[in-house]
């Protein structure tokens, strides 16, 4: 079976929904949205906390409400979507192979493709916690699904490793469901999640956050019986003698998210270690012409508003590409991280759109800083720079039009 489309969007989380919607709004006639689960919405479905859409809709939605708003809008259009549909391969010439129970194996020939598969959580294996392998060790996202979608508790006495946002949100959620959260342990000397989540999810519930700590052993034969936590030194190595046993039946891991990049790799899309996602232009185009990427498959964003914004850009440009009026008028330039910048998105500027930069500092700087773009001579003043808070910086195209060399972004103390 063969399906044809102008724009095909893979994934229907906030990025994919928005991209599909904006591809349609931008004139693409035949937009197709693919979702591997039985419903649209992606991870939003299990994010029943609020804080979604503050900037985009000026409303404080929960995840499902936010998804619903986009889905309602989508239902009014002629955008087609296939559920229970898994993309098993994507070729460099944009042929998609997908599988679902009704259509079996089928191919989609699409003029442009938008990748919006999101990200996945780092698991126990990749962070190497020694000890036994009992039940009760879950990523925070799995726990969130168990509680919010399935209605089950994954444990009653919980230790959380890592202070990523999902871990913080689950600390509160599990407490509200009657579990005892004994503490959140973070290996870095600063928290991983947003300030608002530290305050609203931990401080408000009296859940302690231990910085410069990690779990060095998991104990328990059938189910987790406890974990050993240790302080770590500046190089993040456990300090001998600081071990402390904490009895618990569950260890939740909130130790980072990685863009889902199997399909990108298969399509021959160049990835960058800076984000672990595709090298992307300000248009959201990847290194393969006509394949765009947006949301957390590109880089793990802090806020759904940023994810949606990248979806808007990707959808609009994918429609333009499909219409055949895609032209890069001049060679693009690289955008590269300079001093104190750990993460930078996008990594390429092609002079088509305004440049919306997302910047993460390499370390916390609790002093006034300048964020500088050289050679554009653009300088933004901030009171501090923290790795757990992305900086969004919009640079109008006009200010960049005369640039010929790579753009370097750096953060310096004032």
């Amino acid at each position: 079976m063969q399906v044809e489309a102008d724009v095909t969007v893979i994934g229907s989380g906030p990025a994919g929904l928005t991209a599909a919607l904006y591809a349609h709004k931008s004139g693409a006639k035949n937009v197709l949205l693919l979702e591997r689960e039985e419903e649209l919405g992606g991870i939003l479905k299990q994010c029943i906390h609020n804080g979604f859409g503050l900037e985009q809709f000026k409303k404080d939605y929960t995840g499902p409400e936010y998804a619903e708003r986009l889905i309602e809008e989508l239902e009014k259009t002629n955008v087609q979507y296939f559920l229970n549909t898994m993309v098993v391969s994507l070729s460099p010439n944009k042929t998609i192979t997908a599988v679902n129970p009704e259509k079996g194996v089928f191919h989609i020939e699409s003029k442009s493709v938008v990748l919006a598969m999101g990200c996945r959580e780092r698991s126990r294996g990749s962070i190497n916690i020694p000890g036994t392998r009992p039940a009760g060790v879950y990523t925070a996202g799995v726990a969130q699904r168990f509680v919010n979608i399935d209605g089950y508790l994954p444990g009653k006495e919980v230790v959380i490793l890592g202070s990523g946002d999902i871990g913080l949100i689950m600390a509160r959620r599990l407490t509200l469901e009657g579990a005892q959260v004994k503490g959140v342990y973070e290996i870095m000397d600063y928290p991983g999640g947003l300030k608002r989540n530290i305050v609203q999810c931990l401080n408000d519930f009296g859940i302690p956050l231990y910085l410069s700590h990690t779990v060095t052993e998991i104990r328990g034969k059938e189910r987790v019986e406890g974990v050993v936590v240790s302080k770590v030194d500046q190089k993040m190595n456990p300090i001998g003698g600081s071990e402390q046993f904490i009895g618990c039946d569950t260890l939740l891991l909130s130790v980072g998210l990685i863009p889902e990049n199997e399909l990108s790799t298969e399509a021959g899309i160049e990835l960058t270690p800076i984000t672990k996602g595709p090298v992307t232009a300000e248009t959201m185009e990847t290194a393969v012409p006509g394949i765009f990427s947006c949301g957390n498959v590109s880089t793990v964003f802090d806020l759904v508003d940023y994810v949606a914004e990248s979806g808007i850009i990707a959808g609009r440009n994918a429609a333009e590409f499909a219409a055949g009026d895609w032209k890069e008028e001049r060679n693009s330039v690289e955008v590269t991280p300079g001093e104190n910048v750990r993460m930078l998105f996008p990594q390429r500027y092609s002079f088509k759109d305004d440049l919306i930069l997302f910047i993460r500092s390499a370390k916390p700087i609790e002093k006034p800083v300048n964020i500088e773009l050289s050679p554009a001579g653009i300088r933004l003043k901030r009171l501090y720079a923290r790795p757990n808070e992305m900086v969004r910086l919009k640079v109008p195209r006009d200010k960049l039009k005369d640039i010929a060399e790579p753009i370097t972004v750096s953060i310096t103390e004032r």
Binding site: P101, N128, T132, A135, T139, V142, L153, K221, T250
Partner: protein, 576 residues
């Protein structure tokens, strides 16, 4: 030397080495050690010292040490098996027990297999490196060696009958300098003596075809080509399914807690689920082999568990194609392990391991940061040394770190023999590495023992073949299309890393071996085996198990027993 005198000599030898006093009593060439030592390592050393005397057949080591825990058999849970009767009861559902069950189903015998875990192969089998070893590293003249070379040669037939992937990728031993080249004839002699097939000598050009990208200083090497890799879990499931099809009955979650004999003959086994009558009892109980022997009144050896830790890397990191070793490792063989090299799995994951550490607890499967460091120092350096242009081994590419215990006796050899004391009891114990390679030969030996004594009639309906269900991920589009048309569940991909479909999971649950845990599905269908380690699919697999097995979600376990995934429904806690 009479046994009393020998006992004195051994006692002296133990004291000289460990500075501890043991009492040694020898009867019928079995040394029994008692005493009170200050460390467990000395206890193990004493056992090995006694076993090293040629006149000693095996060692029963009862020396006490601080922290020694008494063996407590598991409690009885039911009587549901009371009244059952079989010609043969096999204790232990590792690859050896299961393969014996399959082999004996060639005869008109009623056969039961008892496994203490909720699934088969949960101890040494799954924790092995899934490698079919060549015989040249196994001590010449031992039963282990004989079984190793014979078993290895039988593997193509076994894998083909059971429809299991098996590849003879070979052990490639490379010369890193001209002196190493002098070792090639030594290797040739060694393999000849050990009855491995003649290795292939390779020059650089030939090496590049077998193992591209070796360090420039490597000019020659030898490929011991009979080394194989296999999916060990597929193998045991295949064996079990074939045994099942030929009439064997499997009882999981069933531990033996006693053996009944009458006039020195086997009469029945007491299990945690009731008493089963039988007249042939095959002790393939691995780590608890000595306990089964003791229950039957025939204890003449002690199992001392030796833990091995292994690291598995993500498939995106595949620096090798062969089992890769260097002559520079020849002198480094330590203790009772064979030394090893870099081993790929049949699925394409690189492994580092295993380590070898004597531990007190037979259940100790914990991993340690020390173990990880040891493995990285040894194999990480070896990778960089032999393949310097390849990406360096990186800890962030580890997807699993696990440990298992080898069921070693002090003689460090296999024991495959009818009991000298109890009629109907057959010991198949002390099977440790290379037990997987030896499996087909061990099974053959057990068959000989059974046929010589009992002359069972052939089972005319025996079918040695089993057909696997090909994983969806390995099918082409046409095959996939066909499969989904017949059963739409094959169109629903549940595990996104390994592309495992709901159809395969449902199928794994209904193939006759009564499994119902997340890990059992992971081992059979590979759901959760990939880089996200079940992060995405685990809740979905749980749901499918609950639905298909008609059990509530709270009863689904990770790997049996009380390893429940969930602790209850939400809102209940709050209401309290």
């Amino acid at each position: 030397m009479d046994e009393k005198k020998l006992a004195g000599t051994i006692q002296g030898e133990i004291e000289k080495t460990t500075s501890e006093k043991a009492t040694v009593i020898i009867k019928d060439s079995i040394a029994k050690l008692t005493g009170q030592f200050s460390s467990y390592q000395s206890v193990v050393d004493a056992g090995h010292i006694a076993a090293n005397f040629e006149q000693i057949r095996e060692v029963v080591n009862e020396i006490d040490h601080p922290g020694k825990k008494p063996f407590v058999p598991p409690p009885k849970v039911s009587d549901e098996l009371n009244g059952k009767e079989f010609d043969v009861v096999i204790v232990g559902g590792g690859i050896i027990g299961v393969a014996i069950a399959r082999e004996l189903s060639r005869f008109n015998l009623s056969i039961a297999l008892l496994e203490r875990h909720e699934d088969l192969g949960m101890d040494q089998t799954t924790h092995s490196n899934a490698m079919v070893h060549p015989a040249f590293l196994t001590e010449h003249g031992t039963l282990k060696w004989e079984m190793n070379y014979k078993g290895n040669a039988m593997y193509d037939e076994v894998a083909s009958q059971l429809d299991v992937d098996f590849k003879r990728i070979g052990t490639l031993v490379v010369c890193e300098n001209p002196e190493h080249e002098l070792m090639i004839p030594v290797l040739m002699n060694l393999t000849k003596k050990h009855k491995d097939p003649v290795p292939k000598e390779l020059n650089r050009e030939e090496l590049d075809k077998v193992e591209p990208g070796l360090a420039p200083n490597i000019k020659r090497g030898a490929l011991v080509w009979n080394t194989g890799i296999i999916s060990v879990f597929e193998l045991i499931v295949a064996c079990a399914e074939n045994a099942l099809a030929n009439g064997v009955q499997f009882f999981l979650d069933t531990s033996v807690i006693g053996v009944q004999t009458e006039e020195r003959s086997i009469k029945a086994v007491n299990t945690t689920r009731g008493t089963i009558k039988t007249h042939i009892l095959i002790n393939a109980a691995g780590l608890y082999g000595d306990k089964i022997a003791e229950f039957a009144g025939d204890r003449f050896f002690t199992i001392h568990p030796r833990k091995g830790e292994t690291i598995i890397f993500d498939k995106s990191y595949q620096p090798i194609r062969t089992v890769l070793a260097s002559f520079s490792m020849a002198g480094e063989r330590e203790g009772y392990s064979k030394g090893g090299g870099l081993i790929p799995t049949i699925d394409g994951n690189l492994q580092f391991g295993p380590t070898a550490e004597e531990v007190q607890d037979r259940e100790d499967v914990s991993t340690t940061s020390m173990g990880r460091e040891i493995l990285f120092n040894k194999f990480g350096l070896l990778t960089e040394q032999l393949k310097p242009y390849y990406e360096k081994p990186d800890k962030s590419k580890i997807i699993a770190h696990f440990a298992g215990c080898r069921a070693a006796t002090y003689k460090e050899d296999f024991i495959i023999e009818p009991s000298k004391k109890v009629r109907g009891l057959i010991h198949v114990v002390g099977i440790q590495s290379p037990g997987l390679a030896a499996m087909p030969a061990i099974v053959e030996r057990v068959k000989e023992i059974v046929t010589e004594e009992w002359h069972p009639a052939e089972n005319a309906r025996f079918n040695p073949r089993r057909k696997r269900i090909k994983p969806f991920s390995g099918l082409d589009d046409k095959e996939r299309e066909e499969l989904i048309r017949i059963n739409p569940l094959y169109g629903h991909i549940v595990c996104r890393c390994e592309h495992v479909t709901e159809g395969e999971i449902v199928d794994a649950l209904h193939r006759g071996i009564p499994v119902r845990s997340i890990d059992a599905i992971k081992r059979r269908a590979r759901a959760g085996m990939g880089r996200c380690q079940g992060g995405f699919c685990m809740p979905r697999v749980l749901e499918i198990i609950s639905r298909e097995m008609n059990i509530n979600k709270e009863s689904v376990t990770k790997n049996g027993g009380k390893s429940f995934i969930l602790t209850g429904k939400v809102k209940k806690e709050v209401r309290k």
